[in-house]
């Protein structure tokens, strides 16, 4: 059996005033989606940031694609970075406001593969049309586009690197219902096509149950793992 894409063991994070979470463990297999669910302030975003090494946990081990993420040297980390990516909650501040969408979408390949901008755009032409961006979008700046359009550009940017794991932190909580459906469906299609694994962070139980095979419910700093149907049942009993 192949080793999992992501393995988190005994992860803890505390700031000066106490524990955010402690002893969190879970595994994400290839092509699977794990949800991190909890109320505002439950630490789910911090946990997501620890998984991609944007933040240093206080204790615990993150094994990403077989490597111990927090003992990697900077050179190896840089080599591995393209394979684990993050989508942030606020599309409007996820992209550099002074770059056109074309520049933003091409940037990762220019950095990691040392391509020129037009080479990079050519290389991901089919991806760009798959996420529904047209030339008229690419010429514009983030503030001239809707949240859904920017979030689709973010997906093109991330998937140009062919990631193995994407941490999506509330990718649609700022979007309208019909746009949310567009973005989530696109994420599902990309998963089917590329076999990417997702760690999907959300506080919306309905979105969770559509997107995730398993859900880690974070409450009071600890996590409990549910499969989809257990999760749906638990939400139903709680909302009474």
């Amino acid at each position: 059996m192949p080793s999992p894409v992501l393995c988190v063991t005994g992860l803890s994070k505390s700031y000066g005033h106490g524990n955010i979470f402690s002893g969190i463990s879970f595994v994400v297999e290839k092509g699977a989606t794990l949800g991190l669910f909890g109320l505002s302030g439950s630490g789910k975003s911090t946990l997501g940031r620890c998984i991609v090494r944007l933040e240093q946990p206080t204790a615990g081990v993150v094994t990403m694609l077989g490597y111990d993420l927090f003992s990697l040297g900077s050179k190896k980390l840089r080599e591995l970075r393209p394979s684990f990516q993050m989508i942030f909650q606020h599309p409007e501040i996820s992209l550099n406001p002074s770059m056109t969408l074309a520049e933003s979408v091409a940037e990762p390949l220019m950095v990691h593969k040392e391509l020129k901008q037009d080479e990079a755009l050519n290389y991901i032409r089919s991806l760009i049309s798959k996420v529904g961006l047209r030339d008229e979008h690419l010429a514009r700046y983030p503030h001239q586009l809707s949240g859904g359009e920017v979030q689709r550009a973010v997906l093109a940017r991330i998937f140009s690197l062919k990631p193995k794991l994407v941490v999506a932190d509330e990718p649609t909580s700022m979007l309208d219902v019909s746009v949310q459906a567009q973005v989530l469906r696109l994420m599902q299609d990309l998963q089917k096509e590329t076999g990417v694994s997702y760690v999907f962070i959300s506080h919306d139980p309905d979105v969770m149950s559509v997107m995730c095979d398993h859900v880690l419910w974070i409450d009071d700093g600890t996590g409990v793992l549910f499969d989809r149907s257990e999760f749906v049942d638990r939400v139903r009993t709680q909302s009474r």
């Binding site: 219902v177 019909s178 506080h203 919306d204 979105v207 559509v210």
Partner: protein, 315 residues
Amino acid sequence: MTLLEVQDLNVHFPTGEGTVHASRNISFRLQPGEVLGLVGETGSGKSVIGQAIIRLLPSSAQVSGHIYFSGQDLTGLSESSIHALRGCSISLIPQNPSGALNPVMMNGQQIAEIFETQGTQRKTAVETSWELLAAVGLVPAERIAREYPHQLSGGMRQRLTTSIAIARGSTKLIIADEPTKGLDYHARETTARLLREISTEKHAALLLITHDLYLAEHICDRIAVLYAGEIVEIGYAEQIFSKPIHPYTQALMKAIPKNGLVPLAGQSPSLMALPEGCAFMDRCERQTEKCHQEHPLMTQENIDGGVRCHHPYCA
């Protein structure tokens, strides 16, 4: 007697690049104690309607039509007369509570100042503020009154703006603008319950402006669905959710995660360049030649319900 009647309200914003037709041909009625949801996506013109009623639109806005509140036309009132209604018979719970509260004023004082400006003794005003905080579930009220907005969670801040809106107790109409934006599911449920309780207890009508369909389904008696600045369907909440007849409403319902998460292709037309015919036709599977040529009118046979479509999914 009808509490609020909006008749053919149009709001336009002239800009350097052209006129933005934010809200068009808006007509609806609201009975005392009724909860009406104005549901629509970003840019559908729903917030503008709330602001037009309470007359808080920027001065650049061009407004036409009539807004009758208890029989009085608000559009013709002088600034001082409308000022007397604001926060008294008509209350607005503003969008984005973090931005609406004074960050350097203690929570209790934000309520107490309402009474102090009316000449109430400080001690009485402070005690009343405690009662109001407790009434919206902000307890222990005396402690929370001495804290500042940044010390509250998003849900608690929403409760605080709600208690400010109803502080004077004479509210007949509450306009709540996106009260659940940015809240998690737990805070969303408690906010929904609070709004429903207030409207029942005070027998105040609630105009709920939201893109949160969950909230709308749970607390509204009737719902008006907006698309590109117009009401495209209006009816009883149950009916809108179980048997929508406008193609847009149907698509919107199908996009809800638990109803299948079916994406609606394309996007709303620009409010500066609206088509001559139906605004939804480019995204509609039922479009015909007629939709391109003729702007659909709202059906009139039923006072509480109607649809703006040449080919609705109806009986």
